[in-house]
Each structure stands twice: as structure tokens, then as C-alpha cells.
Symmetry: C2
Subunit: 388 residues, 2 copies
């Protein structure tokens, strides 16, 4: 087991009706709130009204920053920072899914960043200061409610980059807010959860019991609960399990004690989103089984990890280890397909035109040479091609 | 799944050599350190010298509070509080196992408590203020390094009571510091870990996937790694796994979304320790299988949970559910026995003399009437008797 540091200060209020803790979550930080949200689904569901009623009755001053995109853009960060500065905002309240929370994190940090905000997104110097952030989660997917990272897109540059900004002080995670999430977004969100675990589970470290046990638990819970949530959108238990595993999947906890895997599928998917603005979880679902088959073939010394995946996650068994490994991968691909996710890039209208450039940027600094199974730009083009 | 709040601010630096982060962990809080430790084992192992060298070279002023007992006593809390007040202590550094850290927590809170300190231990009003606490863990057992609770004994009153004091700001968890822990204490510590999970796993809530998956992971890791650590005391991987599961086992995380089980074995064990000053983990190991058999017989509607334990933890299978449940319990008892724990109260020199009084106090306020399977005072006496 390798060394690690655990440091996640976020408080989570989980469950039905936890919005009752909203006012007391904001109060310690001040009175002037930037309300960040997305395309308006919270207005349709009534959550916007519920939040505004609480903020009004408790005497908060609210400045709105709506319209944050599904792959949040640098222009939204710039707009939010401007609003915070002009209105002397004390605390940001993000109501939405990972995109809204990610954008709110970048805004929170951007308020104190001197210089161009895209430069902040690209910076690797570490963010030292940010406005406090509280969020109300409405989608089980990215885990942004329980980590410090955010991913921001620059469509002019075809770049989508993650960085560490700030942890939410408080996340209100009420599974009932996901009852209205469409089947497509429910499936894509679960694919995102599964991908986070894949990026951590598929590592060389064999003996980090807790990390691997949590990973297998998340896999199995996702596999169990997604079909239920698709069939019965208001099944509380299924929605609650998907929400609780989303928070832990991207927390870093499933990688404690394990070697760095390079998160190759996320590196590749960010290129797809940056060029084609596709749904992140869909891109991950398409890439993951193709990446798995590619690395299994490229480096059979990693077979043991796939055998463990096939046995412990899918309950498969058999003598031939390679066949077992491939059967586990097939199970995953079939699972995504059965949940309604389009499983080829062709279905999304994506062709080979940018594969070389996307591969080069996905592997910038040659960082995927240190992945679980090292990847070259040629490997990445082959994986993209297998996704057609 | 039920509602819960997750709020654990503790930073954990886990792994070999993490003491390199000691000075920077203390610095934000000030310069004047109370060094709390136990019976002196840290002097034998060299850890005391290592800590003092760092504190000296970094210019900290150190006041020592050694000699904290294995079941820490109110007199040690009083002594620590006096030292803090007399020396204007800024931060407490606890170096030791759960007893030392528990005592340090009570000292940290006691500094700001107006009134008698045993009254603070018995209080249910909530501690509002405490000195900051940093710890270096030397025993994998109680999980005090990652929770806010502490258990303090009053031998004059035959009382041993837990309360919530404060979370460590930073815990330095280096598995190599447990290489010198005796076989007896290693087994007892692991029994404590297993008991924490039993108190959370055996609940009526069937659908909290993450909590139950984490619990089963901890069970299986404990079962795998204790025999290795007993056979090879300096096996890093085994010691590291035991240390990482100890922190999560008592964190509350394995009970998220689940109903309150009343922690019956801890309630009963605290009586044994309060009357006879026995090793906490040994008392828990003796009680747990007897408690299991008692409640399984008393309320067969809980059989499904024991079947899950037998299958998912011990890999057992079979048609007869009661037989399967009993086989799982027997496996646990055999496991404790094989690890060298004396598995009867008789072996510890404990007779029936105080069973009635201990049962009455274990069930004070009749709180075990709301346990996983409700317990009366008569039930508790029967369980104690089965342990003879």
C-alpha cells in the first residue's frame, strides 16, 4: 500500500428534506449570495422557487448567475466572477449537477485570481483562496459535491481542462431532486460514476483492501440501481444509492494507497467534449470498454486486475484468465448499452477528422506514458478508432 | 436509506515516514505543545525521541503529559487540563493508541469546560470548544484518529463513558509504528475494529449499499490481515491495511443511511472494563458471538442479516438459513480464538458477582430497548452468563 493524504473538509447533508439546513449552511459566511444554476431545469422542478423562498425569508441578498452550460465554459466563469466582484458576494450557492458546481468552484477561486481566468484554468500553481461554496446537488454523476476539482471548457481553443479550485463547504444531497432526471442523463451520470471507479480500480497496487473494496461496492451498487432508476424514476432507494456512490467515486478515496493510474479515459473523453460538446458520461461509456480491450491486449501482465473485476464485480468465473477478463469487459459494455447509451462515436456524428490532434492533446506532456498501461498517441488513436 | 450528515474535518497523513509532516501540522495552531502519551512504549520504540527531536529543532515548547492509562481515567484528564492552563498550551499532540487520543480529546475540551470534569464526561449538552489536537497513531484499533469521540473511566464510580469532544485536526498514521505491538494487543485491536463494524452492520436497513459494502470490506480485510500481522509483525501491507480499516470502522461512515443499532456490545463491554479494567477489544471479542447467538434466537426476523454476514463475509453457503447464520457466528468466534484472545470471562477472572448491576448500567435509560434486537436487563445478564 502506498502513502496518501486524506483531506476533504466538505460537510454532506444527505437525504430527503435536507434543504431545511440550507440557511444555516450559508449564514456563517455572510448575507450576499451568488446563486449559480444551469439551463433552468430547477425552475421547471420547483427547486428554484423553494430555494428563493428560503433565501428571501431568511433575509439573504441574492444575485443570480443562471445559464451555466452542461460543459461549463470559461465565459460563464468570467461572468460569475464579474458578478461576485460587482456585488461583494460573500458565498456562492450552486444548485445543479457537476457542471454548475464545477463552474461555481472556478468562480469562487477566480474572484481572488489576478490575471486572465483561462490562465487560472491552465495553471498548475495551486489555488490558494476562494469564496466559500455551498451546493444543492441535482444529478448523481461527477462527484463535484465532494471533491475540490472542476472542469472548464474553452470552445475557441477546443480545450476542456480540470483543475483543483476549492471544496464545497456544504453539499445538500437530496435524492428526490434527481427523480426528474431523464433516462439519458441518469444513464450518462451512472457511466460517469463507473468511469471514476475504473480510473482508480485499474491500477498495479494489489493490496489496498479498503480502496478496492469500496470500488467494487460502487461498481455493484451502480449495476444494481441504474436499471431500477431507469424503470422507476422516483424509486427513492435506487436514486439515493446512486447519489451516495457518486460522491465517493470521485473523492479520491477509492485510490488511497494505490499508484497513480493517469485517468486515461478522462483524458481522452475531455477531448471528445472539447471538440464536440458531447455528454461527458456518454463519451466515457463509449471509451471505457474499448480502452480496456486495448490495454489488455497490449499488456497481458494486467490481466489479473481484469480477472478480479470479472469475478468480484460481475460474479463471473472460469479457468481461462484472458477469456474471463474479456467477459467482464463485455458485461460492462452490454450494461451501458442496455441502459440506452449510444455506444459508438458514429452515432454521435463524430468521425476520424480530429483523432490525431485530440490524441496529442490528451497525452500532452506525455503524461499517459505513466498510466496503468502506458499509452502512446498511436494507442489513443487506435482506441478512438475502435469507438467508431 | 435513511438521512445522514457526514462531517469529519480530520486530515490523515497515511503511510511510512509521514512524521515528516508533523511540524507543519502543528505550526498553524501555535508554538506551545502538550505532548500526551501512555505508559512509555513510545520511549522503548524510539518514537518519543524522534518526536522530541522534531519539536526541538522546529522551536516548539513542549510540556509533557505521560502515563495515560489503557482505559484512560478522569484523573489523567484533570492532570492534562491543569497542565494546559498552567502552561498556556496552544495545541495538544497525542502520541499513542486510542486511549491516549481519547484522553487528549477530553483534555482539549476540558480546558474550556467550566465545572467539574467528570460532569463534562457525563454531560449530553455538546462540547462547543476545544484546543486543537494532532495525533500520531501507534495502534490500529479504536479509530479515535478519525472520529470526535472519547471514552473516559472513573474507577471510583465503576463508570466508563463515551462522549463527543473534538476531532483531531491532523492524524499521522504510520503503520510501521505498529510493528512492535504485541500479538495480544494486535488481536485485541482487530477485535475492536470488527466490533465497530458489527455494531453498524447488524441493522434493519437493507438498502444502504455503500455502508454495507464498506462494512464487508473491513470485515474481510481484518480477517485476511490479522493472521499475517500475528505471524509477521513487521509485514507492512498487513499492518497498513489494519490501520486504514481501523480509521473508517469507527468513523460513522459504515452506518450512513442505516438505522441506529444502539451499539449494544460496546454498552456491555464498557461495564466489563469499568469494573475489571480489562482490555476493551478482548471484552468485545468475548461478548460479540454470544450477543449474536442470543439475538438470533430471540428474534429470528433478523436472520437475513446474519445470512448476509455468513455469505458475504465468510463465503459460506447453504439452504438452512438459521444453520447458515449460526455457522457465520461460529466462524467469527473461531477467528477470535485462533488469534489468541481468551474467549471466556472466566479466563479473565470475572465471575457473576456484578452482572445485575452491570446490566442495569449498560441499559441505563432503557436505551437498548431500541437496539437492533431490543435487549432487556435480563437479556444482558444472560449474555454475560453465556460468556463465562
Amino acid at each position: 500500500m502506498l502513502n496518501y493524504t486524506h483531506s476533504i473538509p466538505t460537510v454532506i447533508h444527505f437525504g430527503k428534506g435536507q434543504i431545511s439546513k440550507l440557511a444555516r449552511s450559508l449564514t456563517p459566511f455572510g448575507n450576499r449570495v451568488l446563486l449559480a444554476y444551469g439551463g433552468g431545469s430547477i425552475k421547471k422542478t420547483g427547486l428554484y422557487d423553494e430555494v428563493m423562498k428560503i433565501l428571501d425569508s431568511e433575509g439573504f441578498t441574492v444575485i443570480e448567475c443562471g445559464g451555466i452550460e452542461p460543459n461549463p465554459r470559461i465565459e460563464s466563469v468570467e461572468r460569475g466572477v464579474k458578478l461576485c466582484k460587482e456585488n461583494s458576494i460573500d458565498v456562492i450557492l450552486a444548485v445543479g449537477g457537476g457542471s454548475t458546481i464545477d463552474c461555481a468552484k472556478a468562480i469562487a477561486a477566480g474572484v481572488f485570481y489576478e490575471g486572465d481566468l483561462w490562465e487560472m484554468v491552465e495553471s498548475r500553481h495551486g489555488i490558494l483562496k476562494a469564496l466559500p461554496l455551498v451546493d444543492i446537488l441535482t444529478l448523481s454523476a461527477t462527484g463535484s459535491e465532494y471533491d475540490g476539482g472542476g472542469v472548464i471548457s474553452n470552445m475557441k481553443l477546443n480545450k476542456k481542462l480540470g483543475n483543483a479550485y476549492t471544496f464545497p463547504a456544504v453539499s445538500i444531497c437530496d435524492p428526490t431532486y434527481t427523480f426528474t432526471v431523464s433516462k439519458y442523463q441518469t444513464a450518462a451520470g451512472t457511466a460517469d460514476i463507473i468511469s471514476h471507479i475504473c480510473e482508480e480500480y485499474f491500477s498495479r497496487t494489489p493490496d489496498s483492501d479498503l480502496a478496492d473494496g469500496i470500488s467494487e461496492t460502487v461498481f455493484k451498487s451502480a449495476i444494481k440501481n441504474l436499471p431500477i432508476a431507469l424503470a422507476e424514476p422516483d424509486n427513492y432507494s435506487a436514486r439515493a444509492n446512486l447519489m451516495s456512490i457518486s460522491s465517493i467515486a470521485c473523492s479520491g478515496i477509492p485510490s488511497y494507497g494505490k499508484d497513480d493510474t493517469g485517468w486515461p479515459c478522462h483524458s481522452m473523453e475531455h477531448e471528445l467534449s472539447a471538440y464536440y460538446d458531447i455528454t461527458h458520461g456518454v463519451g466515457l461509456a463509449i471509451l471505457t470498454p474499448r480502452w480496456m480491450r486495448h490495454i489488455l491486449k497490449k499488456d497481458p501482465s494486467c490481466t489479473w486486475r481484469f480477472v478480479r473485476f470479472a469475478k468480484n464485480v460481475w460474479g463471473l468465473d472460469g479457468e481461462d484468465e484472458t477469456a474471463l477478463a474479456l467477459a467482464g469487459i463485455q458485461k460492462l459494455e452490454d450494461f451501458f448499452k442496455a441502459s440506452g447509451i449510444p455506444m459508438t462515436l458514429t452515432e454521435l456524428g463524430i468521425g476520424t477528422e480530429h483523432f490525431e490532434a485530440m490524441a496529442a492533446h490528451a497525452n500532452r506532456g506525455n503524461h499517459l506514458s505513466e498510466a496503468f498501461v502506458p499509452l502512446t498517441n498511436e494507442d489513443i488513436v487506435e482506441i478512438f478508432t475502435a469507438c467508431l
